[in-house]
Assembly symmetry: D2
Homo-oligomer: 293 residues x 4
C-alpha cells in the first residue's frame, strides 16, 4: 500500500518502522526534518512538505502530539485537506479530543476525503514490536482498506464502530481509567503507610490477586519506589488526559467524578513545580495531603 506518514516522534517512528518492514511503500514527513533521518536510512522516502507527502498516497497516517498539531496539519495552509486526493484516507493514530476529531472528520468529509481514527494502546517499545492494540473508528470500507496496516502495526483491533470520535472516546477512556487506578493506589499506599505497613506488602497483596495487571504492577512499583523522577508520562501530559476526558464527558453529558479527583491532584503537583515528573506523582500529592513527606 502507498502510505504517507506525518509525525515521527518516538511513537510515530516505531509505527512507521513497522509499516516499512511490512513491505509498504512509505513516504514520510516531519516538521523537524532530522527526525526523518532514521526511517529514511531504513528505506522510507522523505518528503519536504505535507503536500509532497500526500502525492499518490492511499493512506496518510498522522501521529501528532495534540489537537492543535492535528488541526494545523489538517486544516492549516498547505495541509492535508488541501493536499489529499478525493477518496483517500487520513488515518489518525494520535490521541485526540472528541471535538477535534469531529471537526477534522467533518472537514475531510466535505472535501470528499475520509478520516479514520485509530488511536493505539501501548508504549513505543510495544509499538516497535508490532504489539499495539488498535482502536479503529470510521466508515467500514475505509477501515477494511486500512487492515493490512493494522496487521503489521498491532496485535489486535477493538472496533469502535463507524464514528471516528467514538474511537477517540475509547482511547481517552482507557487513559482515564488508568489515572483513576493510579490515584486509588496513591490513596491506598498513603493509608497503609500511616498504619505502619511497608509499601511492598500492599504492592504484593494488590498485584498478586485482584489487581494482577500491568496498570497496577507498573504504577504500583513507581509509587512503592517513589521514582517519580523517571518520567514516563509527565504530570503535565497526564493533566491533558484528564482535560480530554472531562471535555469528552461535557460533550456527551457524562460527569466523571473520579477523574476530577486525580485531575486536582495533578493540578496541585503542577502548581508546586512537579509538572515534569511522572504522573504517578499524584500519589506523592496524596501522601502530602495525608501529612506524609
Amino acid at each position: 500500500m502507498k502510505v504517507g506518514f506525518i509525525g515521527l516522534g518516538r511513537m510515530g517512528s516505531a509505527i512507521a518502522a513497522r509499516v516499512l518492514s511490512g513491505g509498504h511503500d512509505l513516504l514520510v514527513f516531519n516538521r523537524t526534518a532530522e527526525k526523518a533521518a532514521g526511517i529514511g536510512q531504513a528505506g522510507a522516502k522523505v518528503a519536504g512538505s505535507i503536500a509532497a507527502v500526500c502525492a499518490n498516497r492511499d493512506v496518510i497516517i498522522t501521529m501528532l502530539a495534540n489537537d492543535a498539531a492535528l488541526e494545523e496539519v489538517t486544516l492549516g495552509t498547505g495541509g492535508l485537506l488541501a493536499s489529499l486526493a478525493k477518496g483517500k484516507i487520513h488515518l489518525v493514530m494520535g490521541t485526540h479530543g472528541v471535538d477535534a476529531i469531529r471537526k477534522v472528520t467533518e472537514a475531510h468529509r466535505k472535501a470528499g476525503q475520509v478520516l479514520v481514527a485509530a488511536p493505539v494502546l501501548g508504549r513505543p517499545d510495544v509499538a516497535a514490536a508490532g504489539q499495539l492494540g488498535i482502536l479503529p473508528g470510521g466508515p467500514k470500507d475505509a477501515i477494511d482498506l486500512c487492515r493490512p496496516l493494522f496487521q503489521v502495526i498491532g496485535r489486535r483491533t477493538f472496533e469502535a464502530g463507524t464514528e471516528p470520535a467514538a474511537a477517540a472516546a475509547i482511547k481517552i477512556t482507557i487513559n482515564f481509567v488508568l489515572g483513576c487506578a493510579i490515584e486509588a493506589m496513591g490513596e491506598a499506599f498513603a493509608l497503609v503507610e500511616k498504619f505502619g505497613v511497608a509499601r511492598p506488602v500492599l504492592y504484593d497483596a494488590l498485584t498478586d490477586g485482584l489487581f494482577s495487571a500491568p496498570a497496577y504492577k507498573v504504577y504500583g512499583k513507581i509509587i512503592v519506589d517513589e521514582s517519580y523522577d523517571k518520567t514516563g508520562q509527565s504530570a503535565v501530559n497526564g493533566f491533558k488526559d484528564a482535560e480530554l476526558a472531562l471535555a469528552a464527558g461535557a460533550s456527551a453529558g457524562v460527569p466523571l467524578p473520579s477523574v476530577n479527583v486525580w485531575r486536582d491532584r495533578l493540578l496541585s503537583a503542577i502548581a508546586r513545580g512537579d509538572g515534569g515528573k511522572d504522573w504517578a506523582v499524584m500519589a506523592f500529592e496524596q501522601a502530602k495531603a495525608s501529612g506524609l513527606r
Copy 2:
C-alpha cells in the same frame, strides 16, 4: 493444634473445613446452632457456648460479619475475654474496622491474651480450595504459632507487621481500591456508550491489556451485562466497606477522595431502593447520572 472456631457463615464454614482437613482438633460454635451441623458431621466437635468453645484451645478463630458482632463475641458477657485462658490467641479473620480491632486488641492485652488479626483475600470458593491470601498482623511469636493454620487455609501470607490494626487497614484498603476500580469502570462504560460504542468493545480493550486482572474482568462483566441482580456483595455491604475506609482514613489522617465518589454512588443506589443489588450497581447510578437508563 487445638482450635476453636466461632462464626460459621459461608466464609467461616469454608475456612473451618480447611482447618479440619488439615488434621487439627477443631471445636466450633455458632450462635445459630444449625450452621454448625455440616462441619459437625465432617468431624468437628460442636460447643454450646463461647465459654465451651474456648476450653483447652490454643487458638480461637473468629469469622464474624461486622464490628458489632466482634465486640459482642469478645467483650460481651460470657465472651472470649472472659473465657480464653491467659496466653492464648484470638485469631480474627473477619473484615473489621481499625478502631474495633484496636479496642479488642487492647482488651485482650490487658487480660493477658493475644489478638492476631488475619483478614483474608478471596471469596468462599477460594477459601474452600485453601487458596486465600492471608494478611496477618500481630505479635511475631503469636503469628508464628498460627502459621500451621495459615498453611492449610491459604496459599500465601502478606505480613502486615506487629499491629493487628495494620492488617485490618490493608484489607480495608484492598476493598476500597476495588470500589474505585468499579466506579471508574462505571464512568468509563457510561462515557463510551454515549459515543455509540458497544460495551463489550471497551471491556475487551480494557481487560486485554492494562487491566487484565480479575477486578476488571469480574466487575466489568457485571457492568457489560448489567447483571446487578445477581448479587455477590450487596450495595449495602459495599457501602459499609466505604465507611470502614473513611473511618480508617479519619483515624489515620488520610483523605480518600476517590472513595467519597463511589460511597456517594452507592448511597444513591440505596436511597433509590437498590441496596440489595450487587455493589457494581454504582455503574448503574453513573449511567443514570449520565442521562442513560
Copy 3:
C-alpha cells in the same frame, strides 16, 4: 418553671444564666463542679449528681459537647433515664448526631419520659444576649411546655416538627452549609491570589453584594487575615461537624459531595498538625494545594 441544667460549658453557662434571669427555679449540675460556681453565685442551686438535679424538675436541659457525653449522662448508671420522673422532659440543646438523638429519644419514650431536641444557632455571646435561634423538635405539647424557656433563651424558633432527630438534622445541616461556604471561599481566595488580586478586593466584592451575610463576612475576614490561630471552632471540631453531616446523610440516604470536599481539607489540616486552628484553616489547605504558602 422548675428547671434542671446539665453541662455548664461556655454555651451552657450562657443559656443557664438566661433561664435564671427569666425567673425560673434553676438547679444545675456539672461533672466538673467548679464550672457551677458562677451560676451558683448568681442564684442557681447546685446539685451534686444527675439524680439530684432531676429531683422535682419539670424540664432538664442538657448542653453537652458530644454524643458520647449525651449517652453517658442519659443512659449511664445513675443517669437521666433512671432519675427523671415519668412525663418529664429532657430538653437536649447540644448539637448531636441523628442516631444518638434517636437512640436517646426511644429510651426516654420507653421509660415514659419525653425528649425534646432544641439545638441552637449562635455563639456564646449571642446566647448571653438571649438572641439565639432555636430549632425545637419533639411532641407538640412538650414543645409548648418549653416555650417559656425558649422565650428567655432565644429570639426566634424554627419548628422542626415532632421528631427530635429532625431538629438535629437542621442544626447539622446549617453547620455543613457553613463549612461549604468556607471551603468555597478558600478556593475563591486561592484562585484570585494567583491572578495577583489582593485578597481584600475579593472580600469586598463578595460581601458587598450577593454574599453580604455573617458567614462570609466573619470567615472571609479570617481568610483574608489568615488569622487561623485565633480559633473559634477548631479544625478538629469542624471535622466532627462533617462527620455528623455524613452520618445523617448515610442514615437518610443523601450523598453530600460538597461536604466530602471540606471534610478532606480539614482531615489534611489535622494530619499536618493544624487540628487546633480555626476550621477556616481549610482555606490554608486549599492555598497549599494551589502551590501557595
Copy 4:
C-alpha cells in the same frame, strides 16, 4: 465622552442606556440590527459595522455573550483590532475566560490599543438602575479614563489591578462561589426533607442568620418552590460558568473541588434534558440522587 458600544443584549442595553443618560456621545452596533432600535430611539446613533462604531471613539464597550463572540468581534476580519485607533480603549464588560482576555489583551497591546476588562456584578434590572458592581482591571491611566463611565453605570468599583485577566478571574470566582452556595443548599434541602422537615423551615433558619444574603434568599426560594422552570440563568449557562472557573484554575494551578461537584450536577441535569431550566436545578439533581422526586 465619545463611546462606542457593541452587544445590545439585555445587559448591554441596560448599560448602554445608562451611558446615554449620563450625557455621553453614544454610537452603538449590534449584529442583529433590530436590537439597536430601542437605544436608537432613546438618542444613540446606530452604526452599521464594527468599523463604523469605532470611528472617532475614545472607548468601545463590548458586552458579549461568550469568548467566541469576543474573539470574533475583536480579532475577526473588520474587527476592533483593525478598526480602533491607536491609544484607544476596548472596555470589555462581558464575562470572559482568562485565556480569552489574555489573548485579546495581548493583541490590542501589539496594535497600540488598550484593553480594560470591567466585568459587572448584578442582573439587568440592577444595571438599569445604575447599581452594578464593577470590577475594572487594566492599565491605571486607562481605568482612570473610564471612571466617568463607571460612575453612571455602577454604584461601586472593586479594583482588580493592572491585569485585565485578574478582573476576569474575580468575576468568574464570584460566579463559582454562587454555584457552590446553590449546590450546598441543594444538599441541605435534600437532607432535611428526608428527615421530614418542611423546606421553608430550613429556608428561614438559614436566611435569618448566618446566610442572610441575596445568594441564599434568591436561590433558596427557587429551591423551596422548585420553580426551576422560571429560568434566570440556565443550567447550560451555569455549566459554562463552571467551565470558565475550571479553566481559570487550570491556567493558574488551582484545583477547585467544590466547583467539580456542581459542575457534575449540572452536567447530569443537561444530560437528562433540563439544560434550559434555571441552574438551581442542580438542587433537583441532588434530590434525585437522594431518592427524592
